[in-house]
């Protein structure tokens, strides 16, 4: 049993989706994990790296390492940030990564790794799960999130057609190639709405910002909700 973990909430959840961070804390504490929040944390540098700004990405990566060095476990509710730290830092920082990448774990993998499947969550409604690209193809979380969702009391899980298709977010791609991104989003939203679910769920606030923003723009009744928020639900 892991007694304590540091939370890397991500700049996006911190700034725009605090409920995702709060839910993550709730889930971890319910599992008996003592959570710390190193206040100096800001951003892992993923967006800079993926956009070609290597110097900035290296600087932010170094900063991340300085903030989290010495933490045995760092949990984050973002598959793409976890993927970035775990898969890019070694090349970006070399020995300066100081073992930090290996300590960073995405939330659903962390919870599954504890052997905790039924964590006493309750959720009223139908949910469809969108496996984000980086969770699926870089981090390879597999069916960890789905197994967790299946154990949530009251939750009806429905399959998303063409689930492994990219939603079209892609960081700066969403604005640099806004038309293509919007076309990909439209197809994803159609698939989500075709399931009749009340909620679309994922492990990345960034993709959910894109999907949720699209659903809202459409006036859809479907809500975009982070996995942590569902797992934290106790009512």
């Amino acid at each position: 049993m892991i007694g304590r973990a540091a939370l890397f909430v991500t700049c996006l959840a911190d700034t725009l989706y605090p409920s995702v961070g709060i839910a993550t804390v709730t889930v971890l504490e319910r599992l008996g994990v003592s959570v710390s929040f190193p206040r100096e944390q800001t951003c892992c540098g993923q967006m800079h790296f993926n956009s070609g700004y290597v110097d900035e990405a290296r600087q932010l990566g170094q900063r991340f390492v300085d903030v989290f060095a010495g933490e045995p476990v760092v949990v984050t509710p973002s598959a793409s940030c976890a993927a970035h730290v775990r898969h890019q830092y070694a090349e970006l920082l070399g020995d300066d990564a100081r073992g930090v990448p290996e300590s960073v774990v995405e939330l659903s993998q962390f919870v599954s790794g504890l052997g905790a499947v039924a964590i006493g969550a309750r959720f009223r409604g139908t949910v469809t799960y969108h496996p984000t690209c980086h969770s699926l193809r870089v981090l390879r979380v597999g069916d960890s999130p789905l197994r967790l969702l299946r154990e949530v009391e009251g939750l009806g899980l429905v399959e998303l057609p063409d689930a492994d298709e990219c939603c079209g977010f892609g960081g700066t791609f969403a604005v640099k190639n806004a038309a293509v991104s919007s076309a990909m989003l439209a197809d994803k939203l159609d698939a989500i709405e075709s399931t009749g679910a009340d909620v679309v769920c994922a492990c990345d606030s960034s993709c959910l910002m894109h999907i949720g923003g699209g659903l809202r723009r459409r006036g859809s009744r479907v809500r975009a909700v982070h996995l942590a928020e569902i797992l934290a639900g106790a009512s």
Partner: protein
């Protein structure tokens, strides 16, 4: 223009403005604009969607049949790397084996040199037309234009290449060049081009019309030009993989055969074909094996051409070879599996890429081979980095990784743009916790006039793209860290 004090979260998603240098160069077509044209063409999108869906399903089926698919991919990547890492030796071995088999080997540093060699070789035969097997290398060097300029008529013999040639268009897919056209469009084209007003839109009938049209060309051809899928250094064997029999016609019937091949196509050993002939057909067309694979070395008395020329083409390949991150792109066997799964390609089509090699592999190969930023500077950004391409690549090219590398190059070449300034500034904000927290608070204040029901619907200037299809929540009354601190204080 977004001023420095504007809400930082907006800047996080700033697009690249067309660079000033690019704007000077007579406004070249950049990918985002070209993509809009593809997206707006409903017929194109329907054709593409139908075709790529079919081919993806077929591929998935025949790949699932192969229990050792991953081991084959590993071996294929290693074989290609082993050849690339001693490319000089392997090419010299190929030169020796081909020469021993009475073939003649030519070396071409760039497109112009390759074209000159080929045109001179054709001229020396006295022929004024050539039959051609579909070849991306000759598309890349624009050989057809060079032949025409030299008074030689090139006849494309692959059905799709013929369709594209007759339509005066460019290929839009590595393997299925006319994927953007449906049967009705092809019928209308062939009715006019082949003077066959009787044609219906049945693929069988359209194919028969092309067969008839090309038969005469094959039987009279004196010179043929092909590419190569593989060349085996050990045996001097050239390998052409095809379906229609046009490849066999071209490599068998004429007196003279000229093969133009990128230097990265060489594999060291004969047995290596046992790996690639499993991976290529299944990845490319979703077949267990393509109908015809032709293998020959030099010339053979009494069977096939009496003269064989092999043109070894660099044209930027050694530039890619020098890049430790980009080098694996040279493993590419042009199967186009990455193209068929790419969510961007499938929506915009190949023409938006403005390059011979469309899709994800093109987005890395084009900048690598040309060494150019400029117009091509937009190609590495034509991807959401979803990674579907890397998953299907039979030679395990980490396409997203190379895309990101090419992005870094494009950024380094054109740093002074608006995006550069913004992302650098954002980087500075994020590098300092106090600055970051101040920016959060400042945004909360500045966003107020634009908020509707807690959300933003419209975004200034280059950020406008986000608002095309998406709302965005504003910074809430309490950020996570503010919540955490409040809780700590309460505890």
């Amino acid at each position: 223009m977004v001023r420095a004090c504007a809400p930082f979260i907006w800047r996080k998603f700033l697009p690249v403005p067309p660079s000033r240098a690019a704007a000077r160069d007579a406004a070249p077509v950049v990918f985002p604009q070209a993509a809009r044209a593809g997206l707006a063409n409903a017929q194109l999108r329907a054709n593409l969607n139908a075709a790529t869906t079919t081919i993806r399903e077929k591929r998935a089926q025949v790949v699932a049949e192969v229990g050792d698919w991953e081991e084959l991919r590993d071996a294929a990547a290693a074989i290609k790397d082993s050849a690339l890492h001693r490319l000089d030796t392997v090419l010299l071995e190929l030169e020796a084996t081909v020469t021993k088999a009475r073939g003649i080997v030519h070396w071409a540093r760039d497109a112009a040199e390759a074209n000159r060699i080929v045109v001179d070789l054709v001229r020396a035969t006295g022929a004024d037309e050539v039959v051609k097997v579909k070849s991306l290398a000759t598309d890349e060097i624009r050989l057809n234009e060079a032949l025409e300029a030299g008074g030689i008529r090139p006849i494309e013999t692959d059905l799709a290449e013929l369709i594209v040639q007759l339509a005066g268009e460019r290929a839009s897919h590595l393997l299925v060049p006319a994927i953007h056209k449906n049967r009705t469009e092809i019928r209308d084209l062939l009715r006019v081009a082949l003077d066959r007003p009787d044609l219906t839109d049945e693929p069988t009938e359209l194919t028969a019309a092309a067969r008839l049209h090309l038969r005469a060309a094959f039987l009279r051809a004196r010179v043929a030009i092909s590419g190569a899928n593989f060349a085996v250094a050990e045996t001097g064997t050239i390998c052409v993989v095809e379906s229609e029999g046009n490849g066999r016609m071209c490599t068998t019937l004429p007196e003279t055969l000229i093969t133009v091949m990128g230097i990265e196509k060489v594999v060291p050993e004969w047995r290596d074909l046992g790996v690639f002939l499993q991976l290529l057909p299944r990845s490319a067309t979703g077949e267990r094996m393509n109908p015809y694979t032709s293998l020959w070395a030099g010339v053979r008395a009494g069977d096939g051409p009496s003269a064989f020329h092999l043109v070894l083409l660099d044209n930027g390949r050694t530039r890619a070879l020098a890049d430790d991150v980009g080098r694996p792109a040279l493993r590419c066997i042009r199967c186009s599996a990455c193209v068929n799964v790419c969510p961007v390609y499938r929506r915009v089509g190949g023409h938006a890429y403005h390059t011979v090699y469309a899709g994800p592999i093109g987005a890395i190969l084009q900048p690598q081979l040309s060494g150019e930023s400029g117009q091509a500077g937009s190609l590495p950004f034509a991807s959401s980095l979803c990674g579907a391409c890397a998953d299907v690549c039979p030679v395990k090219i980490d396409i997203p990784r190379i895309l990101v590398r090419e992005r870094a190059r494009a950024v380094a070449a054109e740093r002074q743009g608006l995006e550069g300034a913004t992302l650098r500034r954002l980087g500075r904000i994020l590098s300092d916790r106090r600055r970051y927290e101040r920016a959060q608070r400042l945004t909360r204040v500045l966003q107020r006039p634009a908020l509707r029901d807690g959300h933003l619907r419209w975004f200034p200037g280059p950020l406008g793209g986000w608002g095309e299809s998406r709302d965005l929540p504003g910074v809430p009354a309490q950020t996570f860290r503010e919540w955490w601190e409040a809780r700590e204080r309460g505890a």
